[in-house]
Amino acid sequence: MNILLIIASLTTYIMTAFFLPATSFAFTFDRNVPSAVQVQMTADLAFIKSVKSDNQSDLHKQIFGAVSGDSYSQFFNSRVTAVGLNGCGDSNAVACVIPFYDPSKMWLTKNYIKFSHPQVARMMVVFHESRHTEVRNDNWPHANCPSPFLGTDHKPIRSIWTGADLADQPACDETPFGSYGSSMIMLKNISKYCSNCSDKVKMDASIYADDQFKRIIDQKAIQDIKDDLYRE
């Protein structure tokens, strides 16, 4: 019976490896990551690997280099060596990094395939988390949002989950180079400069980048990003 189980597992492993689309991303999946999650993430990374462009913003150049699949795969490969399965302590989470456990490991939740996010939104989460692997930068910790934390309508920005005010919550950044900043800069650049992205991808990238921009709270950082990406 044990031999049969071993053979069945081996067969599944071989079949999974055989059917997964090939990419040049170097990380490994833990064996307990469901194959559907593996397939989706591999396909999403293959999409990111395919991105081409002739231009990029200055901030993008500083963080990633060119707007290109090669730059993004190099960025990811140099930070994430393994991907595992975890609940990330939050029923709404899609991915997380737990630095004290393993700073180079990213954890995905089953929400990665359960939630119907656009493809660039999934990649935004993955690249946001990959920024948190950087031990040399203290994992780019978030800043507490200001109090009061007001939206463009001058009303307090609240969590849709709890209804709680996000003021004083660690859900903001004070720099363009943290997780919120870097991932929104990546997406805004894809939106503006990707030469082989569909119109939908470019629209999505702009929608999610503009939303993440709200989490940047330092006035100089906001101005730097505006100058870099929002000037006509």
Binding site: I7, M15, F115, H117, P118, S159, I160, T162
Partner: protein, 233 residues
């Protein structure tokens, strides 16, 4: 043959059988037309439609009964759309080659398709809104967007009608979830924004923006408010 070899053989056979069954279950079946027809007043004139049943979802989409070529083209485009939605590849180039110049019948088929997609499939619904919002040239097109922005909020990505998920231990991911919850509405407003840049005086859009401003989708409401102010002058 040893018992060990027999077990390996059985495992391989079972795996092959499983793969075959999986492939069979996922293969795209041709759509089935039913002989029943009914009439609709879409596009300002009465047109005969056939009910069209998609095997995979078991849902109904209407296609015109009159012209077999039109019908075949709609069937082909719906089949491509299903492939793209199933693949979850938003960068499929066919989104920009096959769906840029839609006929009134094709738009009607896509609007019918929208109604068949579960509300939780936010990206699929938003994709349909994107395709239809890219080519706004009839009253029906604007009516469709008006209905989209007036939809009741989806409060949970796993079940739109249930209460929001448990509170987060931190709010890091709330942003993208909130946008995805309102994704079809945001895409509708982005389509209108693009249209307004070329046609700033469009009364039909003013009505849609009012609807969106009054909706309980708060990102969409704020976006509609800013569009309304921007294009008011």
């Amino acid at each position: 043959m040893s018992r060990f070899k027999i077990r390996i053989l059985i495992t391989c056979l079972l795996t092959a059988l499983l793969l075959f069954a999986w492939g069979w279950q996922n293969k795209t079946l041709p759509p089935q037309f039913t002989p029943e027809t009914h009439e609709t007043g879409a596009a300002g004139s009465l047109k005969k439609f056939l009910k069209f049943t998609e095997h995979k979802s078991g849902t109904e989409v209407r296609v015109p009964a009159t012209n077999p070529e039109v019908r075949a083209e709609i069937t082909r485009k719906l089949s491509i759309l299903n492939e793209i939605l199933t693949s979850k590849n938003d960068n499929d180039p066919r989104l920009d080659t096959e769906f840029k110049e839609l006929s009134a019948f094709e738009k009607q088929a896509l609007q019918d398709k929208y109604k068949t997609i579960k509300p939780e499939n936010r990206n699929e619904r938003g994709t349909l809104v994107f395709l239809l919002g890219r080519q706004l040239d009839s009253v029906e097109d604007f009516d469709f967007l008006k209905k989209v922005v007036a939809e009741a909020p989806c409060t949970n990505l796993l079940n739109c009608n249930s209460r929001p998920s448990h509170p987060s231990s931190h709010e890091e991911g709330a942003g993208e979830i909130e946008v995805t919850l309102e994704y079809p509405q945001i895409v509708a407003l982005k389509s209108l924004e693009l249209y307004l840049t070329h046609h700033p005086k469009t009364p039909a859009i003013t009505e849609i923006l009012k609807e969106a401003i009054n909706s309980k989708n708060h990102i969409a409401s704020n976006l509609a408010l800013s569009l309304n102010q921007r294009f008011k002058e």
